[in-house]
């Protein structure tokens, strides 16, 4: 029960401060779930994030459900998901009220303008973590350049090129998965 409450509160905190959709929620979820509570490893977290991209539905809800379910089964997934949307219900309905009453949403605009660049920075810091784990299998700096996983770098570059050619996300991720399977088998390495 205590765990469910913690899940609910953690995700409510994320839902409260996450501005700008699914990607923005990732660093916040990471801070709560990995850094603060240690419910998941960075590896599991990135898997979740990847899978969330490929399954239907909003990415943030997908991630919350997955984390909740891994931590505390089905009740956990319900606690995490409802926690995530709980602050939104209150805030969005209040904004709707302001909108219908006054036609604008007042001081919250300044707050959101301050948060938008902050969110970019937070996603960037999650991006650094992703790179460290993908290329060096490490969660923190410093890294040994000599031990770079060249297969990972190759897949990264190929995905990047495909991305620039506007290949869809699912196709992109599925093919990078297949590529991983083939290349790691070919070089006989266990990631």
């Amino acid at each position: 029960m205590e765990l469910l409450l913690e899940l609910f509160i953690s995700f409510a905190a994320v839902g409260l401060v996450c501005v700008g959709g699914g990607y923005a929620s990732m660093p916040l979820i990471q801070a709560e779930v990995i850094d603060k509570h240690g419910w998941l490893t960075l590896n599991e977290f990135i898997d979740i994030f990847t899978i969330s991209q490929m399954t239907p539905g909003p990415i943030g809800i997908n991630a919350a459900t997955f984390v909740g379910s891994k931590v505390a089964g089905i009740p956990g997934s319900i606690a995490a998901t409802t926690g995530f949307v709980f602050p939104s219900v209150i805030i969005v309905l209040s904004l709707g009220y302001l909108y219908y009453k006054y036609g604008n949403v007042g001081p919250i605009r300044g707050i959101l303008n301050g948060l938008r660049p902050a969110v970019v920075a937070l996603i960037a810091s999650a991006g650094v973590n992703f790179i460290l784990l993908a290329f060096w299998n490490k969660e923190k700096l410093p890294v040994d350049i000599g031990k770079t996983d060249m297969v990972a770098v190759l897949i990264f570059v190929l995905t990047w090129i495909a991305l620039k050619k506007k290949v869809g996300t699912i196709k992109l991720l599925a093919s990078s998965g297949v590529l991983g399977l083939i290349l790691y088998m070919a070089v006989g390495m266990r990631p």
Partner: protein, 199 residues
């Protein structure tokens, strides 16, 4: 003047092409959430085309305003959109129905997937596949970050760039609790960034 026009637009009545029912609200939101890959920015246009163009439960301009509220409010864009559109179309009960329909499909799908994940993730071949996907998703994320940073950079405003650099340093190098960082950024925004150039 423009305020007046906005007010007029809002008074435009929605012309119902189909009778409103909570069941229809539920099932159409549910289907959209269940089969749309790609998150909020893909889901919103679908909700709009369903409720505005097909059912006529809201008029065009109002729906755009509601979407911009959903996008600017904290939380998930898709959930926010269903909360506020649900409210507009069916009051608090509409909110409850639309929100439930939005979160139910991913709740079921992802719970199932998470059980499979536990069973398969330790298999070495599955690991190779997942590792490949990790590299792919890293490329996608880095691309998103570069786009966002470039967008901020092009605005050529000092304050957002300072916030960006400060927030990155505070979170990555100094490991300050994200909630505190966000609180500080929100206060800066509240007092210094109300002008429309920061939008």
């Amino acid at each position: 003047m423009s305020d007046l026009r906005d007010a007029e637009k809002k008074l435009e009545k929605a012309v119902f092409k189909e009778e409103f029912s909570y069941w229809k609200l539920f099932i159409s939101t549910f289907m959209i959430s269940a089969f749309t890959v790609g998150g909020g920015f893909v889901i919103i246009p679908l909700l709009k085309s369903k409720f505005v163009d097909e059912y006529g439960w809201m008029n065009e301009n109002e729906s755009l305003d509601l979407v911009s509220i959903a996008q600017s409010a904290p939380g998930l864009v898709a959930a926010n959109a269903s909360i506020i559109m649900g409210y507009r179309m069916g009051g608090f009960r509409g909110t409850a129905v639309a929100l439930l329909a939005t979160i139910l499909p991913p709740l079921v799908t992802l719970t199932i997937i998470s059980y499979c994940y536990d069973a398969f993730a330790s298999n070495p071949y599955v690991r190779m596949f997942l590792k490949g996907m990790q590299c792919g998703v890293t490329a996608i994320l880095v691309n998103v970050v570069l786009d966002l940073v470039l967008k901020q950079w092009k605005k050529k405003l000092v304050l957002p760039l300072l916030i960006m650099a400060g927030t990155f340093a505070a979170s990555y190098f100094f490991k300050i609790n994200i909630m505190y960082i966000i609180l500080v950024d929100a206060v800066i925004g509240l007092f210094l960034m109300k002008e429309s150039k920061y939008d």
